[in-house]
Symmetry: C2
């Protein structure tokens, strides 16, 4: 892990991300991270890089956004010796929840967080695989804040810069490893 730079790691990650045209619909080029996850060296290096970045910042909970966010957030939480907390789609969490909505192209969708998952004053790291419009990340931040927690940072594997999600999250610290 010595001397590894964002540029260096980003290039490695890009080498194992696959473009899938017309998914989930016509005209969209989907960034498929499954070849990255299938590569234990690069996946592991990425987890350690992100965990290293946050290790002295007092993060006690790592929130992963359903479903691909779970895959990155769980090992990062373990590296940081922080709790892992799932942010899930409506109806999936069994206990008492807080809810938040975010805009879709047409209509809205709802995310939920267990109300005992984060505590007042705790520092939170939010993780997802792709920052697109920023709607789900912002929704996750607001739910954690509703419970009195503090957003230390948001970390994304990939940022799709042309969708300008960063603008929606300008009140938060935001890190992304790979930019398109």
């Amino acid at each position: 892990m010595k001397n590894i730079t964002v540029e260096n790691l980003s290039a490695k990650i890009k080498s194992v991300i696959r473009d899938v045209p017309d998914f989930p619909k016509q005209g969209i080029i989907f960034k498929d991270i499954t070849p990255f996850l299938n590569n234990p060296e690069i996946f592991s290096e990425t987890v350690r890089f992100i965990a290293d970045k946050y290790k002295n910042r007092g993060v006690s909970k790592v929130l992963g956004i359903e479903a691909r966010g779970f895959i990155l957030a769980a090992p990062i939480a373990l590296e940081l010796k922080a709790g892992f907390v799932p942010v899930r789609k409506k109806g999936k969490l069994p206990y008492k929840t807080v809810s938040g909505t975010y805009d879709l192209e047409y209509g809205q969708d709802t995310l939920q967080l267990h109300e005992d998952a984060v505590k007042k004053g705790e520092k939170i790291l939010i993780i997802d695989d792709v920052l697109a419009t920023g709607g789900t990340a912002k929704c996750a931040c607001r739910m954690a804040e509703k419970l009195g927690a503090e957003i230390e940072s948001i970390a994304m594997l990939i940022e799709l810069e042309f969708l300008k999600g960063r603008e929606k999250l300008q009140n938060y610290d935001l890190f992304s490893l790979v930019k398109y």
Copy 2:
């Protein structure tokens, strides 16, 4: 990690699993693992225990079943220096897939696996949080076998013994940490 037994670890895990009555429907007592995931000591010990169990068995891919299976499978894959492979619900994986179906109480559901995710002759470990009727695990095994891979084992955090999922999986090596 010295001298830790299944019984010992199982008791610890049970202490952080929450029973939620009437979820997802009336009469069902749901085993909520979110307090377990929120406890980095016990979650970490569990990941290391399962990874340790499989470390000399040549596993090159760890398959996690959507969505809670991802949370356990990703860090176990990294510990084993094996690739992580998501088994997803229909329509979620962007690239070419193989599909399998499993029975629900009424009707059927479909799981998918990328066709390049596992290779002929590879040894596979399948991971999920709960073994209930065994339908999804068996479906995951069959898809991996369709691609020529070999199921080294199936590991579950929790086994609901009264649902007899183990009977459906008797052709496979099966390990569960916590039994109810």
